[in-house]
């Protein structure tokens, strides 16, 4: 069976590298783009099975990329998971409204959980070594809850 193709649009070098390596190891074929413009071109040429899309990107904002992908018949069927550092309600709502299939707040997840999410998206079995994914409810509002407070 051919490998599933993913286009990863993420401008931070380290984050992109980590996600790329994890996904490659998990058996996906990953192409990378570091800005919105380049990402859009890459998706159009590669026609991947999934796009992982960061929001704050040089050249073109992730939301604009998403909008253009969803408006063009050639790319409107390609699923998109938004990768965000913002984690604000409005970003999430806007992303979903623009047609994103899901969103991942990067800073709230271990990388293994993100790969797990991608796996799940394709209906694959959860890899045994991946950590248990967080409950979805807890991602909706990015109020971190493990914090120890003081008086």
């Amino acid at each position: 069976m051919a490998k599933l193709k993913i286009v990863l649009i993420e401008d931070d070098n380290i984050l992109a590298k980590v996600i790329y390596e994890e996904l490659e190891e998990a058996g996906f074929e990953v192409d990378r783009a570091y800005d919105g413009q380049e990402g859009l071109k890459l998706v159009r040429s590669k026609k991947p099975d999934l796009v992982l899309l960061d929001l704050i990107l040089p050249q073109k904002h992730g939301f604009d990329v998403l909008e253009e992908l969803k408006q063009s018949p050639a790319t409107s069927d390609i699923p998109v998971i938004v990768l965000t550092m913002l984690g604000r309600d409005d970003d999430i709502k806007k992303g979903l409204k623009l047609g994103a299939n899901d969103y991942i707040v990067k800073s709230q997840h271990a990388i293994a959980e993100i790969v797990d999410k991608v796996d799940k998206f394709f209906g694959k079995e959860t890899r045994p070594k991946a950590k248990k994914p967080e409950k979805k409810q807890e991602q909706i509002k990015p109020v971190k809850i493990e914090v120890k407070e003081e008086k």
């Binding site: 929001l55 409005d90 914090v147 407070e149």
Partner: protein, 408 residues
């Protein structure tokens, strides 16, 4: 005929004087008429009422001698004495004086030469000799001055407030930007450490420890960044509430389960027994969890070894009351008023835990209010603290409506 004319002139003068008198009497500005020696020739009613003196003790007196010589202001006397010989006027001369009868007053004085005909002079002064008199008008500007000062002060405060608001906005924006910019590299550290631990097979036990330390520290830093971000969100009014169905009892139980390990380590007894079997609410899950977590984790953090924490839950009409009672270090009485202030930390809390942020209770209060609830406490130093959180079973969206839609 001659006699008749005289009579008619006299009558005219009388009428004119009466007319003048009635004007003078009606004028609200106090004034007096002085002769060249500054002896009071005439006064109006306003003068009497303003300075609380009688006509009898005023008319015929020298100005400097009036009211226990309270008008004996050398510079003023000199100015008035100059009016007639030098043909000068006194214009808007400000006098501040502490009067025995009426207290501190600021007055604006205007004085000028008053030329009168012999006949009129005779009518006024009854001597008929004076032809040049001095009119001294006194305007009490105490209130106006006070008002102006208050207005200036108000202006200054408004300006300060505006400046303060601007600074607050800048600070909040700074926190927001800084938090986002901090999160990216922080996530990089966490992910890289995670991969290192997972992928490298030949890490020595010590190496693994170091990596664990990196992960733990960056996790702590990440939590702190999230906390700061929440502060800026709340202050910018960007934290909206999204109510959903929530069973409070099991919700609290599941959170308390997470605390078991920490409580065991400190040998703290955590009791959650008094509660309804179930309690259904429609409220914002993450905000409620944040509030509960904030107070419970405080109770654990600031309890000494062997302490006890009791948690109660009661339904009260359309509200529910969540009570957390601990036997911890308490909040010193004189610090209690500031406990919900941003960055505030109790002096005894700082001794126990040096790295607190002072944001937990601040955010808990903000979150409670956002949900239309109330939060309060009772505490005594070294005896313990009881926190009360009262929330609506059905969260009102009032708080959520003030949330501004954010532009990206």
């Amino acid at each position: 005929m001659k006699e008749a004319k005289k009579k008619s002139i006299k009558k005219e003068i009388k009428t004119a004087l009466k007319y003048a008198d009635s004007i003078i009497a009606t004028l609200r500005e106090p004034f007096l008429v002085l002769n060249k020696n500054l002896r009071v020739v005439s006064i109006n009613r306003s003068f009497l009422s303003t300075f609380k003196v009688t006509e009898k003790e005023t008319i015929g007196q020298l100005l400097p001698d009036l009211s226990n010589r309270q008008w004996n202001i050398p510079k003023l006397i000199q100015l008035l004495k100059d009016i007639l010989p030098k043909k000068t006027v006194v214009e808007n001369y400000e006098v501040e004086h502490e009067f025995k009868q009426i207290g501190y007053r600021i007055m604006n004085l205007n004085a000028c030469r008053l030329r009168v005909s012999r006949k009129i002079a005779m009518a006024i002064t009854k001597s008929g000799r004076e032809e040049e008199l001095i009119l001294l008008a006194i305007e009490d500007v105490t209130e106006i001055k006070k008002f102006k000062e208050v207005a200036a002060e108000k202006n200054r405060l408004e300006l300060d407030l505006k400046q303060q608001k601007k600074l607050d906005k800048m600070k909040t924006e700074f926190i927001s930007v800084a938090s986002h910019q901090l999160r990216t590299p922080l996530t990089g550290i966490q992910w890289a450490a995670e991969r290192f631990l997972r992928k490298e097979k030949l890490i020595s036990p010590r190496g693994k420890e170091y990596l664990d330390d990196i992960q733990e520290t960056s996790h702590r830093l990440s939590n702190l960044v999230d906390l700061l971000l929440n502060v800026s969100r709340i202050e910018e009014g960007r934290l909206s509430i999204s109510p959903s169905h929530l069973e409070i009892v099991s919700f609290i139980e599941s959170y308390l389960d997470e605390c078991t390990a920490l409580c065991d380590r400190k040998n703290i007894t955590l009791v959650f027994k008094k509660h309804p079997k179930t309690l259904k609410a429609n409220t914002d899950k993450s905000l409620v969890r944040y509030i509960v977590q904030s107070i419970v984790s405080n109770a654990i953090e600031y309890s000494l070894k062997g302490g006890k924490i009791e948690i109660f839950l009661e339904k009260k009409n359309n509200k529910f009351l969540f009570t957390i009672k601990d036997t911890g270090i308490g909040i010193p009485k004189k610090e209690q008023a500031g406990i919900f202030d941003k960055f505030f930390r109790g002096s005894n809390a700082k001794l126990i835990k040096t790295d607190g942020t002072g944001l937990g209770l601040y955010l808990a209060k903000q979150a409670t209010e956002l949900l239309g609830g109330k939060i309060w406490f009772k505490s005594a130093k070294n005896k313990g603290t009881t926190f009360y959180v009262e929330l609506l079973l059905k969260a009102s969206l009032k708080g959520g409506r003030r949330v501004l839609r954010e532009k990206i």
